[in-house]
Amino acid sequence: MDALTRRVLKTQEPVPTGGMEKVRRFFRFYGVQILLFLFVVYVLFALSRLGISPKRISEGFTQGKVFLSRLFPPDFITRWDDIRHDMLESLEIAVVASIIGILLSLPLGLLGARNLMPSVVTWPVRLFISLARAFNPIIIGIIFVKAVGFGPLAGLLTLSVASVGFIGKLFIEAVEEISMKQVEAVRASGASFLSVIRFGVLPQVSARFIGFGMYQFDSNLRNSTTLGIVGAGGIGGTLFAAYQRFDYRIVCAIVLLIIGLIILDEYVSERVRRVFQ
């Protein structure tokens, strides 16, 4: 509560007499300030736990200068064949995973929508989707690398799961927002369940699907550039190998290529979105 409101209320409200009421009024007046104060205390505590000291920061900056000078000029040539192969692999993983994600989200989204299905069905589906979304792709990647071995297959499975987590959630929300009038109209004509889905539900949500898909592709592309760090295929593997060999000029070249790829992708997806609007 801000000072002005407080002053106005103090003149208008009767002064509380009981002890409990006084405490309640205090919290109502100063609740936000108390929370803010606690938050500041927490931040200071967190800062003290991380061992950040001016000395360490200044050492970091000297180190940073050395590091930067070793990054440049970027070296595209030495490992060009590896880089080209792995960049394409990242792109391919993103494409396939996005499509698998969309295809899997379609039935899962319908099964998870509470306005279409009983809660016995929606509950496990929603749990699966939120599990898929809760973990960072890197963590899912580690598990799949253990399960299927190193290589792009692990990355592909990882990003498919991540895509289901995200598109599935958006799709469920989209299905739950549809107007039931159309669904009832189709049902009233004696249509089977599949026809109700096909003619009553899908036409209302299909327009948003491309948007979800493009969005997820952007995200998958970004993630597929790092999954290689845990061995799940793509450019991240080459990047991490170069980093561990202290070949910082190659690291720099790869990062610049990744930035270029993402900027290109943002431009393209902007264009695609305009076509589908």
């Binding site: 800062l47 692999e89 253990k146 399960a147 792009p152 990744i258 900027i263």
Partner: protein
Amino acid sequence: MSENLAKEWKNHVGPKRALKTVFYAIIIAALVVSLRNIEIIPEFLKDTPEQLMDLFRRMWPIDVKFLWGFVAPSILETIHIATLGTIATLIITFPLAVLGSKNIVRNEGIRYVMKFIFVASRSVNSLIWALFYVAVFGPGPVAGVMAIMSRSIGFVGKLLSEAIEESSRNQIEAVISVGAPPVSVFLKGFWPQIRPSFLSIALLRWDINIRETAVLGIVGAGGIGLLLESAIDVFHWPGVAAILLSIFVVVLLAEFLVTNLRKKVI
């Protein structure tokens, strides 16, 4: 109504429809090419469910002692890193976002520089940022905070400058017309309009940062990821299960907190 129908009719005829067909064709071509190039070993794929089940069987029962002794402090460190990283982001990004807004800065050059900073920051995954900062600051949570910050600047900057650009002229002109200096114009004209989006962007990013911080430890930047990596390296699967469970719980709690706080601030 008839106007609307006409518009919709036009939308589906002509070049747009052709473009859509081209788009679908490209998607299918990309899928075919990708599937042919990615080396998928069928035996491995067929084996996946069995391997996953085996993995989950080894994870049970969860190592409770490990949970309290090692996982809890590590999870707390993860939360610290995410929070400090978000706060550092907000402090640095606010002026950048102001400089990047069309209705405040008329100079196109400055705006393009800001836009470039935002795009570059967003394009590099936080794990790659963490690699850089581990090389600079050494392994530890400081590198994590810096990585989270570097990655968030682009996200917050883009959304925040969009929010500033959407603020209505009327209030601002009213403040200017009474002769307020630029600082007051900002505080009384812009700030009340962008405050709800500022707070909800901050909360949203904090939520994302909690998820991202959980893996930064894999490259040595502090938090629970470090523990996860070492537990996997020694095949301590019940411990891995404890870590995964605690990450899941923290992520759910963060999401719950953010959803409720956002309702309050909007």
